[in-house]
Amino acid sequence: MDSKGNSEKKKDLTCVGKSVRRVDGWPKVLGKAKYTADHSFEGMLFAAVKRADFPHARIKSIDVEGAQLPGVEAIMLEEDIPGNPRFGALNPHQPVIISDIVRYLGDGIALVAAKSEKIAREAAKRIVVSYEELPGLFDPREARKSELSIHPEGNEIVHHVLRKGEVSEGFAAADVVLERDYQTQFQEHAYLEPEAAVAVPQPDGGITVYGSMQHPFSTRRVVARVLGLPLAKVRVIQGELGGGFGGKDESSSIVCARAALLALKTGKPVKLVNTREESFVESYKRHPYYLHYKVGAKKDGTLTAMEIEIVADGGAYASMSTFVTWRSVVQATGPYTVPNVKTDVYAYHTNNTYTGAFRGFGSPQIVYASESLMDELAAELKISPAEIRKKNFYQQGGETATGQTLKHVVSLEPALDAVLAELNKKPLEQNANPVFSRGRGFACSYRGVALGAEGVDATGAVVNLLEDGSAIVSTGVAENGQGLRTVFSQIVSEELGIPLEKIVFLDCDTSSIADGGPSVASRCTIMGGNAVRHACLQLKERLNLSEQPDLQKAIKATLNAGKSLYAFGWHNAPKVSWDEHTGQGDAYFTYVYACQGVEVEVNNQTGETKVLRAVAAHDVGMALNPQQVELQIYGGVTMGAGYGLTEEVILEKGVTKNPNFNGYHIPDSRMIGEIVPIIIENPDAAGPFGAKTIGEPTCELLAPAIANAILQATGARVRTIPATPARVLHAMQKEGAPA
């Protein structure tokens, strides 16, 4: 898909753009990589947490008498917390442990440290809490109307609006107006490594915390606040991360803060590792959304208006709900030019498990709904799903729903064409057994890159070039398993002409590099990559490489001149803007475009759906490491299949009914028959070597593609995901399709 110029530009590169092996691969295949729970220290204690017994209740008393077992070294309640017991990025109302009101079953009430994990868990079990049970709210639509308030500040977490044109005029001008409701579920990140922390008290009264977290700096902020220590006395070191997917922010900070509290109290190292059940019950999930869409169109498919109302379940605490739903309000129309748009997105508190960041961050829900809607509208107008999309796609120079002019290459049509060409390479062949029906479907999306107008977006990198021509690189964004160490090492190799073997990536340690913001929003390559480049460019200037191209000689001359070869690069994202009253502005500095298609086979008797083949085309700006891009696509498509078909945390009155992998089913090796990745490259001025992003867009498209394919296979439209066998059968019976 390269334009010719781009291919030639790429040819000049020596390391960037190549599928080099992971630089951190060996320790992982040898079993030597140290994940947090693998750390051990002399005299280390083990921690356990006593959690709430009701989803909404006032605590009357806490009796720890029976928990004073031999081997127990500390029991802590909220009153024992030296600092502020509450935290939260936007609303600091989430308790580390709580003594008055519990608001969901994951709330912690007491912490125990003991000589063994077994003793700690047994002691926690013996803590007796008496409660006055309070009525609970378990549906955000009820929380919206209810007089019962879960927090003093009310149940509404946020209400985002977007107003463009006048929807009444748009609907009046339409030939067809369609209204549809869609619903999405609680999804669990299901990182295979449960949350873990090891806190080690330091001689100066400070603390070092090893943790399984995505954002060491967010964790540092929480730990320092809870302990009442200056940030400088809290050193957070990221353990090798066994998966995060957006899930290891507050969920990890709370585990680190609890371990740190016990470590300071006992003066000994403390390890706290969640069981899988604790992880399911305590950690935040993907927001369930209730979406209502009204769309107007001309006979030829031209969209005239869209009115959207979305209600999200924020659960017990605010967490990232405001940011997650903000991405939804920006992107809710899908990548289509609509002259008149009115969107309202609300998030409410309930006594369910709280919800927060999860790969996709407010997009998988709206892409599922809007891309199902486009197929429904196409059917109503009797035009093809491809035709209606092409008629309305955003174009370069065109305007988005937020009034932003897209100045970069908008590659929606090439992505769609590439997917359809691959998907339809062979005509659809039905299974000879009439019990099975096959169908194909696809979905398209656009996605804002990095944080956008959510907040300040900046990050840093250090490149420390040594006298022998080797280099140490560290960055303010962290390796989450996605391959950041490798890609950043490639950039240094490219810029300074050092072989990869001579580059060492130093993992994120909050005491040795500037706060570079969180490793989220698929911002690491574009933001961190630019920061690494800035550092390299400073070094190149100091080395005067243009006049002295021999690196070794240049290093010697520079050092002899008394100059340092230690460079710190800082990158600020290009300007963005947002008017929260109108929902207008340049929401993100650039966007990525994608299309995914799928062929499914539905068992008409059981409703079971199998993904036979998936095709995914993504414009990444430029693939700095094509193999790593493909890996993101394979993983994201698979996660999207789980979202569309099997994954749902079942919460009944706040109780998680399936808190382990025997009841919650993430895709296994048999889930998808074949995945075909297609990389599209349109280099972006804002990215290092033109690179944009890939992590999140990969998992936002397969659920609607599957829903659209199920419709083609069975004639039935599933408007609630996951499309479980029961839901598919139900939809088939409703449509009168052959069962």
Binding site: Y35, L192, F661
Partner: protein, 151 residues
Amino acid sequence: MILNFTVNGKKVAIEAEEDTNLLEVLRDKLSLTGTKCGCSVGKCGVCMVLFNGASVQACLIKGKKMEGAEVLTIEGLGTEKEPHPLQVAFLEYGAVQCGFCTPAMLLTAKALLDRNPHPTEEEIRQALKRVLCRCTGYVPIIKAIQAVAEG
């Protein structure tokens, strides 16, 4: 009780309780932390080891069952100087991302190739279904195993 068995070719004698499982023995008593814990109910498979040559979830092997057994963990599979071909193939094909399931995937693949040196893609998928991976979508893992099987 004292349990006598072999881990990575070395004889060990471990004092353990009836309900102690092999995963706890490996991680806590032998400091072999390459074997991971993901669910404790035998459903995620990240604690897969070779137990008398077969891939088994270490969290499901309890007490006396360990007596006399031959156990292979990731620490015994190969070294950087003398790696198992699967370890090299996993790196070559990008079968490693976060790496948490990697030891289990490697051992499951070894068990498969030991009993079936030339498996079909379907047989590979069947064998891997007992280990979950949240990062790779399984594709590169399958490719790596195929590459080793094809020599």
